[in-house]
Amino acid sequence: MSAVRGRDLRKSYGRIVAVDGIDFDVPVAACFGFLGPNGAGKTTTMKMIYGLAAVDGGELTVLGLDVSTERRAVKARLGVVPQEQNLDRELTVRENLAVQALYHGLPEDGRIDELLEFALLSARADSRPGQLSGGMKRRLLIARALVNNPELVVLDEPTTGLDPQSRLAVWELLARLREEGVTLIVTTHYMEEAQRICDRLVIMDEGRIVAEGAPPELLERYEEDTLEGVFLQITGHSLRE
């Protein structure tokens, strides 16, 4: 069984078609990438997976459940690291995690200390989000997504806007999650990031999936040295356009 399965998945905002009939299967315990430029439909696809955008057409099952009818059950079992920084500014770092447990109906137990340690934030437990650096905020967002012990974590551009060192720290966290068998879905427009952390990925452009495979497989198929080259060859334009 796939962790996430999409069939002819569609989403429009008025006349703008954000996701134009895509098919994909995210294998359990994989790190699966959605790669593409801004506006390719990656974030919209993520929002449909975690229930913050309604599915217009097609099918989408997450952890074997239909997202349109079993939203609460799906959300209880997944973690979300959004692109936008939406921490609770009125609470401390520790309280952010405690309140996340509350929303999930879970007790405030030792797991919160574990997560603070995991995200290298133990020393900042009593700080407010406003006092944290960009990298720390991102690690807190990741820790928050793990409070409910999710089977699947969706990360929307987890390293965008971070300095190289902070990016490395995020990659390390993701590697440790993979070792624990958590399925990861990551969107990114950094090709080298995809190449480094994803064991399978799709390339999206203008709402469609234009290529799919494991990174080495794609490089071989298109006879390119980098995913950047693969993308250029398929779409005829570079990522940053």
Partner: protein
């Protein structure tokens, strides 16, 4: 949207309420004091100032007439602040609701939980002010001990009105209309400062359609000696309006937050 999208989960709503309580418990000293002075100054200025010249209204000492009315308006202001500026801030500035909605909490739980929180905050302010009114010796009836219950109901009604307005506006600028054309007129024309029974009939008819009028009727009744039937009737009005409005913010917030 299906019917299930309108059915709130009580545990979900309670979790939203508990988050707000947690934040309030950290800032309550700073938050409680300013809003408490407001009705107190009105009571001193109108009740004790104006009341010196205006001995009685319908046979009731003026300060005793104004006091319970201000209990009701304290609730209105508190529930309105909470569900206008504060909710808009959480929705559009900190994007807090985007995070909450990725947990099992759904939009309808959010609306119910925020309504209960705003009502809770309103009842805290209203009850503190009720204590002041009592200390000034303005309470005649033991039924006043039931005041918090009805202040909660009034708070819920104003919270639902605020949530409805907030769910429908695009920018914060619209709040100036809400305050100047709705909340402030209610404060002035709902029978807090003068009785409506000597005014033309149409004034009472309009007043009947506004929430603060019903809450003032209740609080004044409880403080001075209630007519049970009138209290029940006014409470029913507040309950029906609150419940009937619920679907509007649920629908509008879902469209806005779950596009």
């Amino acid at each position: 949207m299906t019917a299930a999208d309108y059915v709130p989960s009580l545990p979900g709503a309670t979790r939203v309420w508990r988050r707000d309580l947690r934040v309030f418990s950290k800032v309550w000293k700073g938050a409680l004091l300013p809003q408490f002075f407001d009705p107190l100054f009105y009571l001193l200025a109108m009740g004790f100032g104006l009341g010196t010249y205006l001995a009685t209204v319908n046979g009731i000492p003026y300060k005793q007439f104004v006091g319970p009315g201000l209990m009701a308006s304290a609730v209105m202001w508190a529930a309105t602040f909470e569900t206008t500026w504060n909710i808009f801030f959480k929705m559009e500035e900190t994007r807090l609701y985007d995070a909450v909605l990725t947990t099992p909490v759904e939009v309808q739980d959010l609306v119910l939980g925020e309504m209960f929180w705003a009502a809770t905050r309103a009842v805290i302010y209203g009850t503190v002010f009720t204590t002041v009114v009592t200390l000034f010796g303005l309470v005649d009836s033991p039924w006043a001990v039931l005041a918090p219950l009805f202040l909660m109901l009034g708070g819920a009604c104003f919270a639902m009105l605020g949530l409805t307005f907030t769910s429908l506006i695009k920018t914060m600028d619209w709040y100036s209309f809400y305050y100047t054309l709705f909340i402030t007129p209610l404060f002035l024309f709902s029978g807090i400062f003068y009785p409506l029974d000597k005014l033309p009939d149409w004034v009472s008819v309009i007043a009947w359609f506004t929430p603060l009028y019903h809450l003032v009727e209740i609080t004044r009744g409880l403080v001075l000696g209630p007519d049970a039937l009138s209290v029940v009737g006014n409470a029913a009005w507040l309950t029906v309006v609150t419940a009937a409005l619920f679907l509007i913010p649920v629908r509008a917030f879902r469209r806005r937050l779950v596009a």
